[in-house]
């Protein structure tokens, strides 16, 4: 296998190497200088490429918002493969790489692809995903066949066609830039003038039809715009990866935005950002095609946002869970403290670590840690008791502060009210109630607790006959032993 790869690979690499003109091809420049050159934007070719990447990113981001929300991602992928034969035919027709004829060819091929999909849907029982696979591979194969044929026939200026696989930034012409600009303009105008209609048709197609919105026409235009976006981006990212640009920036934006307008803006900015950064890195790397790098930058941005977005980012969820856990441990300790004091009839106000260990079923170091947590939070104070007997180890002794007492009362009240509620109103068996109530008191809000109290008519005792601390007790801040 190695032999034939060398033979064939060598032929292809050398042929493409001869044609490709890299930006700043001098091998001696180190990457720092390259970076400077890029940022300064003095070189017209650099400016052109950056502009192209910017325009492409904006277009793909904008139209991509609709692709993702309407679940057209794989359709976008199919379309990007399906335009290939159109490009080949356009080239043959024009006899050279004339952007306009390529565009027309690609448009016709895209349209043909869409028609085939509709035909398959109407006349067969083939499922949607298989139909997409069929159209994708059939059109693509036709495209490859025509392209390899073109290579063999040896048209002049056919080198540009190879670049459609992964994009070749150096082959970007001013025609391409114009094409990108026009596409962006069309997409923006379409969205601006049809914003509300698009919103309604995306959300509820049936309803939109009933209020007279031309659903099918809008959808058709949307598809054609996707096709245009694909075609104009081909020179930069190539056929295979263009669908990535339609999906990834928009998906990233969907993690952050809640409203459609924000979504559109974020999506286009992310697309533009990825486009420019990717081109920048490709420029640094000298021989790396821009397409894959632009996609990788978008993917990294996506992962970054997925993990780090505020509130719902995976990292935050994990941190939240940990802080929730510690809050619950604190509350459980307070509850245990209350119960211990209650058992002693509120005559003392000191609680030993041994008592907590027994009540909570935890080990000594764990209890020490909990007491420390309470002390740090200002909910308790601690002392070391003197050694009574030689054999007993010294114990930590804890006293609740007024703040701690109030918190503990609230916890116990919530817990016992909830137990009563479940037993009385929801008719639960007593042995069900206890475990569930263990979780509830941590999440009951004040409003709900008042609601329950009213419902149960301000009860004084819970199903097990224990005291339910009343609001007055808590607000007066009565410490046990002082009341």
């Amino acid at each position: 296998m190695k032999n034939w790869v060398i033979v064939f690979g060598g032929l292809l690499i050398s042929s493409s190497f001869l044609e490709a003109k890299q930006i700043g091809a001098a091998e001696d420049l180190n990457w720092l200088t390259q970076a400077e050159r890029f940022i300064e934007m003095k070189d017209p070719s650099i400016r052109k490429v950056a502009l192209g990447a910017l325009l492409m990113g904006l277009s793909c981001g904008l139209i991509g918002s609709y692709v993702v929300t309407r679940r057209l991602s794989l359709f976008g992928d199919t379309l990007s493969h399906a335009v290939l034969p159109g490009i080949a035919v356009g080239f043959i027709w024009a006899g050279e790489k004339d952007n306009f004829s390529l565009l027309i060819g690609a448009g016709i091929a895209g349209f043909a692809g869409v028609c085939c999909l509709s035909l398959l849907k109407k006349f067969t029982r083939i499922h949607e995903d298989s139909s997409l696979g069929i159209v994708l591979s059939a059109f693509y194969a036709l495209g490859i066949c025509l392209l390899t044929r073109i290579q063999k026939v040896g048209y002049t200026d056919q080198s540009g066609l190879d670049s459609f696989m992964f994009g070749q930034v150096s082959a970007l012409s001013s025609n391409d830039i114009n094409g990108l600009f026009i596409t962006l303009l069309m997409i923006s105008l379409f969205i601006v003038f049809n914003f509300r209609q698009l919103l309604v048709t995306g959300f509820d197609p049936q309803f939109s039809k009933s209020i007279g919105i031309p659903n099918d026409f809008l959808q058709f235009v949307l598809w054609m715009l996707i096709a245009f976006c694909v075609i104009s981006s081909l020179q930069l990212v190539g056929v295979i990866l263009v669908s990535a640009m339609l999906v990834i920036p928009a998906a990233t934006a969907s993690l952050l935005a809640r409203r459609m307008k924000t979504y559109l803006v974020l999506s286009s900015l992310l697309g533009a950002g990825a486009g420019i950064s990717g081109t920048f890195f490709s420029f640094l790397g000298k021989s790396l095609p821009a397409g894959p790098l632009i996609v990788l930058v978008s993917a990294l941005l996506f992962l970054f946002i997925l993990f780090l977005r505020p509130e719902k980012g995976i990292l935050f969820c994990w941190l939240n869970t940990r802080s929730e856990r510690s809050r619950i441990i604190v509350e459980n300790t307070l509850k245990a403290a209350f119960q211990i004091l209650e058992q002693k009839g509120f005559e003392e106000n000191e609680i030993t670590s041994l008592e907590i260990m027994k009540k909570r079923g935890l080990s000594r170091p764990e209890v020490e840690k909990e007491i420390q947590n309470l002390t740090t939070a200002g909910l308790a104070t601690k002392n070391i008791s003197p050694i009574d007997q030689v054999s007993l180890p010294s114990q930590t002794v804890m006293t609740l502060t007024p703040k701690g007492w109030e918190y503990a009362c609230r916890m116990v009240r919530n817990h016992r009210l909830w137990e009563l509620y479940l037993t009385n109103e929801a008719e639960y068996e007593p042995d069900h109630v206890h475990e569930d109530a263990e979780k509830i008191e941590h999440v009951l809000g004040e409003k709900t607790v008042r609601q329950i109290e009213r419902l149960l008519q301000n009860p004084k005792t819970d199903p097990h006959g224990k005291l339910i601390p009343s609001i007055t007790d808590i607000h007066q801040g009565n410490l046990p032993g002082a009341s």
């Binding site: 190695k2 679940r71 992928d77 067969t124 995903d129 194969a141 036709l142 044929r149 669908s243 021989s287």
Partner: protein, 312 residues
């Protein structure tokens, strides 16, 4: 030079078989074609009935970084490491898609698009970073070169020359796939049709799914050399959708893969010979033509049925 060469039947159909050397060369190419079609067709039938056709596309793109990393790690294009790397990448791809779906509100098709394009971009970038050091080139990964199959070295074992190594590898994989599919046919059938029933009789549904993904990665990797990553999808999808217009039971559809594979290979080979283009593309085009014909003329097609219903 004309774009479409003149079609001379004797030239197109007989020239490739004119001399003994040509016969020896081309029959290896044809055999490889059969094996690729049969292996992909068998696996692809289950992929299609599980409505996962584009998963096949996704995985065939997703295995690229696996192959490149295997090459970088082991320093050679040996089959073993490549298969391993590709299978691992394929499984990573399918896990990532599921993970993404479960841990965010991103819908299924967007998740697939995100994962496989990123993997693919990674693979292409790695290849290009190594340009000059790596003998792997992107075009062959993309659309393969089945015509160069006979160039592969021979398989030498214990001092005996068994013949073309690529054919042996593909042959073993194809045989393995056929045997495994026959052996575990009931399991694949039930988990595809009604996973809940399978689950209730105690079968490990997830593992069977993984097993199918593994077979998919295996057949894709093995076909890589010949038809390249892109056209694998054609070989996965076309046999079963074409056969479904002739037969209504799964076993018959599976068996139909064999004659269809032969048809695609011969059709593609001669088409490519006539047009002087990529054989893999020609095979896919042949498959499309067969499909279109079966849609129109197949006994189970809708068009036929509506025609029957019309009063004459």
């Amino acid at each position: 030079m004309n774009f479409i060469p003149k079609f001379d039947p004797s030239k197109v159909f007989f020239e490739p078989w004119a001399t003994p050397e040509l016969i020896a060369w081309n029959s290896q190419v044809i055999l490889m074609g059969f094996l690729v079609c049969w292996a992909s067709g068998m696996v692809g039938t289950f992929i299609v009935v599980r409505r996962m056709a584009l998963m096949g596309d996704a995985i065939s793109h997703g295995i690229l970084p696996g192959i490149v990393i295997a090459f970088l790690t082991f320093g050679s294009l040996e089959v073993g490491p490549m298969l391993l790397g590709a299978c691992l990448a394929g499984l990573a791809c399918s896990f990532s898609i599921e993970w993404l779906q479960q841990n965010s509100l991103i819908n299924k098709d967007a998740s697939m698009a995100i994962v496989f394009t990123s993997f693919f971009a990674l693979g292409v970038t790695l290849i290009n970073l190594q340009a000059g050091h790596l003998d792997l080139d992107t075009d062959c990964i993309l659309y393969g070169e089945i015509g160069l199959t006979p160039l592969a070295p021979n398989f030498i074992f214990g001092g005996n020359d068994f013949g073309n190594r690529s054919l042996w590898v593909m042959g073993l994989i194809c045989a393995a796939i056929i045997i495994l599919v026959s052996l575990f046919y009931r399991q694949l059938l039930l988990t595809s049709f009604d996973a809940i029933l399978a689950h209730s009789i105690g079968w490990p549904v997830k593992i069977i799914h993984l097993f199918l993904m593994l077979l998919l990665a295996l057949s894709t990797v093995a076909s890589l050399e010949s038809v390249g990553v892109i056209l694998v999808v054609a070989m996965l999808v076309f046999p079963s959708v074409t056969a479904s217009f002739f037969f209504h039971r799964l076993p018959s559809i599976l068996i139909c893969t064999f004659p269809l594979g032969i048809l695609y290979t011969f059709g593609g080979f001669h088409l490519a010979y006539w047009l002087d283009c990529s054989i893999a593309a020609a095979m896919a085009i042949t498959a499309s033509i067969c499909f279109i014909l079966s849609v129109i003329f197949g006994p189970r097609s809708y068009i036929w049925k509506t025609a029957k219903k019309k009063p004459s």
